[in-house]
Symmetry: C2
């Protein structure tokens, strides 16, 4: 089943977190702050800025505290950090954050490898976090990771989405995201996954986190918004390789997604010229061409005036 | 409006024609024949093999006659050549071709720059070709080029699609294709364009030719099949830069498209492993990495067996 597109969609840029976290190029705190300011200047109103993880496992996120300090008090910008456990949540409470994003993998093996626990234990952790997070005034987003395929377990049963989403909604959340963490999904799977989510957590805002690893990311984004998703993650330049898929391209690119949405009559509210400029700046920082296309080929040609 | 996906979709590989025609790497006739044989071995049943153009303008197509001679009599494969005018059609009649693809740009400026004439004159040419082509037993496909945007005139009026498609259908055709020649379209435009085509040429087979220049190509493919398109062009490896969009990626990649379709429950009938192998072979011929992703990241992970 394919629905109609909404009039507008919100884009959350995750470049400073998911885009950078596995990159070998170490980016300075100052450049990360510059990145977020450029994104905010291009119209982004939600940013995933960093994550509370073990700096030995993810050295790029070792400056989480400094990044959040640098962003504290930015106007018109909702700043989020990724939280993987209760320890991370306690760190989040020490900052002037606007949102947290809690992550629960759908599969046992991914939960074990990535967070050293089980999906059930993580759902219990979320239950203990959800209320204090609300009391702290935080917007609470929960991501179901590897929702369309797992690097260890392969295909997943869509029924598992229903069960986990119902537990998350029951504990309390403001938004649930389904993540195609390793970039394997096709549009029909996106439609089914979000239909399950809408049924299991009726009325709750739905968000999608998509990678373009196998060139299905933008088709999946279009499928997601037709399935009722109101918020899409994207990363400037399409930065963000997956550690489980060597050679993979990253997240869908913020600037390319905005182009597709706007040209389909779906308002993203973003300034495409500013995004392209920011993407070229980011390529300078990273020292390589990134997967986003718009910065290189430019927008669609305009009519040429007669001489 | 978004429809449901069909049970199966036919893919026409256009690598030997559109993939190669603007490439600086000159590919030998023997390698072109090898390419087509590999594609046929992977399950492709329709191939756009070459075009009848001025070899001074398109040196890569100078061996059109030799390519078609080499492919003559291949079993289970429908071989097509691109025809831009009546002179090209007379050349086509000299070969054992199965199909011709005639091209009419939607805009005046593109028709003038690409074919030195007008869309109206090309529609008249088609009228004089359509009957003898049928009498010669050729499957007749007509492509409306720059159907979603022109490098010179910018946005096009979708109403123009209706008018041109009606003229083509009236002259006689077995299939009409809408081409996003410069890779600017978004899914909503694809839906509108094919809705216009279906209305103007009811009952006629619809085909889409899509480029991934701005990362919308696969989303457009999904939109096209939901809009009633039964045949999609693609190019092995995603080869095929556009001369009007420097730095652009090419056609959508045959192997990535097959992955997306099959995983959405739409049969392409193609052998994905054979396609990936062929794409890696082609990268060796071209001496560079191509935009297709599947050959590099591989299919979705399978469940790992317990040790």
């Amino acid at each position: 089943m394919s629905g109609t597109r909404p009039a507008k969609v919100e884009i959350v840029d995750v470049c400073a977190r998911d885009g950078l976290q596995n990159d070998k190029v170490m980016v300075s705190t100052a450049d990360k702050l510059d990145l977020v300011r450029r994104l905010a200047g291009a119209g982004l109103r939600r940013i995933e800025a960093t994550s509370f993880v073990n700096p030995k496992r993810v050295p790029q996120m070792a400056d989480a505290d400094a990044v959040l300090e640098g962003l504290a008090g930015m106007r018109d910008l909702s700043v989020s950090a990724l939280v993987l456990n209760e320890k991370g949540f306690r760190r989040a409470l020490e900052h002037r954050l606007d949102e947290i994003t809690f992550v629960i993998p759908l599969t046992q093996t991914m939960a074990e490898r990535n967070q050293g626990t089980t999906p059930e234990a993580l759902a219990d952790s979320w239950r203990s976090i959800a209320r204090p997070a609300a009391q702290a005034g935080l917007f609470r987003s929960v991501t179901i990771a590897v929702a369309f395929g797992c690097p260890f377990e392969g295909r997943v049963d869509p029924a598992a989405i229903s069960a986990l989403a119902a537990r998350i909604a029951d504990a309390g959340a403001d938004e649930i995201s389904l993540a195609d963490t390793i970039g394997v999904a096709a549009p029909a799977e996106i439609e089914e996954g979000f239909a399950r989510l809408a049924e299991a957590a009726p009325g709750l805002a739905m968000r999608a986190h998509l990678h373009n690893t196998r060139n299905t990311g933008y088709a999946n984004a279009d499928a997601a918004i037709r399935a009722g998703v109101s918020t899409l993650d994207a990363s400037l330049g399409g930065l963000g390789g997956c550690p489980f898929a060597p050679g993979a391209t990253g997240n869908i690119a913020t600037e390319d997604l905005a182009y597709m949405l706007d040209r389909s009559g779906v308002q993203s509210g973003l300034d495409q010229a500013a995004l392209r400029e920011a993407a070229l700046w980011l390529e300078g920082i990273m020292g390589r061409r990134l997967p986003g296309q718009l910065a290189h080929v430019g927008p669609a040609p305009q009519p040429q005036l007669a001489a």
